[in-house]
Amino acid sequence: MDTIATPTRRGMLALAAGGVAITLLPRPASAQLAAPTQAAIDRIRGGRTPQEGRVTLRVPPIAENGNTVPLTVSVESPMTTADHVKAIHVFADRNPTPDIATFHMTPAMGRASADTRIRLGQTQDVVALAEMSDGSLFIARAEVKVTIGGCGG
């Protein structure tokens, strides 16, 4: 029985290592983006320069299938009339088109956060760009490794 049990245990360890590591290794937001993503961001930012920080992008480091990748994005903000997040734009750097979603937010939410599930065509970075009520911009980036099942029907 040992010969059968061993690979399983190894598999489980690999899985645990891959899965528990929820802590993201955020990429410097300054690293080069694909041209369509950069263009989409440029359209939103106009002359403004996005800063790093305040935005937390939660995506799994490894996605078993790119069709359904859970995503949570949140921004540190008091969410008051005077100081709140107006929108969060989310992009997939290497999808056929970079747009994923725009979340429009209001102070009535109490917290600036949203969850959804996204499609990623391949291993790539996801980028979140938050627009604050004072016009400032914050950006964050995280990589998702997409394990496209080469087999299994």
Partner: protein
């Protein structure tokens, strides 16, 4: 109505009688005596979707099935509920013991096939196409009522030849890759095949929401995929070969909790 239980019991008694008459074939031995569900080979993110009944997209199918349960269809003017009353009560444990030997038809029937038998023979309604959305929906609803109950199919007596046929299919090398099911799911589970982590190929989670397909799929749809993988010629869904194979797979998974509707990559 209340006639259903009596009839079902009748079938079971008949099956038991036949088993005695045949003296019983030797107990088959499982290659994996202590099976593990496919959930052990899924990432925490996938499990999080499965384990949250709100987020699990298969629940959309279960709800469609629930609505269909009491919808009158066919010439007899009846719904499932006309005979089976409250499905959350009467369907408890059904998924766990199916596929099962059907005495009158003298063959093994899957849950999907039993549902279509009720539609065509009792409701005067057309059979729902294999792996179609409405059939997967009602199957998901029925299967959900057995969630957590151990798989427990009866392979004894007259069911045994169908089990044996399923076992033969499982163990036959096929396709250009010349592999048997066990080449992947017994000899190599826990290892990666290209980018895919192989499980033991257990069937306790079906119907399942497949992330790749982005819909609920039936077990036999998955089996077609597995046969195609070894570049083999897959038999038709709903046919005798896959039905017997599904019966054998249920026995492989004997004791595992029904996990339907699971979520798999």
């Amino acid at each position: 109505m209340g006639k259903v239980a009596g009839l079902t019991l009748g079938g079971a008694a008949l099956a038991a009688g036949l088993a005695l008459a045949q003296g019983g074939a030797p107990e088959p031995q499982r290659a994996i005596p202590d099976p593990q569900s496919g959930r052990h080979f899924a990432t925490p993110e996938t499990l999080a979707i499965q384990d949250d009944d709100f987020q699990n997209p298969a629940m959309l199918w279960a709800e469609e099935g629930e609505a269909a349960w009491s919808r009158v269809e066919g010439t007899a003017g009846q719904s499932c509920a006309s005979c089976h009353n409250d499905g959350t009560q009467t369907m408890r444990g059904v998924r766990a013991r199916m596929p099962a030997y059907h005495a009158r038809l003298n063959r093994v029937v899957t849950l999907e096939q039993q549902i279509n038998i009720c539609r065509t023979e009792r409701m005067g309604a057309p059979a729902l196409p294999v792996d179609s959305r409405p059939l997967n929906a009602i199957t998901t609803y029925v299967a959900l009522q057995s969630r957590g109950m151990p798989v427990n199919v009866d392979i004894s007596g007259p069911a045994r030849p169908f089990f044996d046929a399923g076992e033969r299919f499982y163990n036959t090398r096929r396709g250009q890759l010349d592999m048997r099911c066990g080449s992947c799911h017994e000899d190599n589970y826990g290892r990666s095949l290209r980018a895919d982590l192989l499980s033991q190929g257990m069937s306790n989670g079906f119907p399942t929401y497949r992330l790749k397909e982005q819909r609920v799929i039936s077990l036999q749809f998955r089996l077609q995929g597995c046969v195609n993988d070894v570049r083999g010629e897959a038999p038709p869904m709903g046919g005798e070969e896959f039905t017997n194979l599904e019966f054998y797979l249920a026995w492989r998974a004997q004791g595992l909790p029904v996990e339907s509707p699971s979520v798999r990559r």
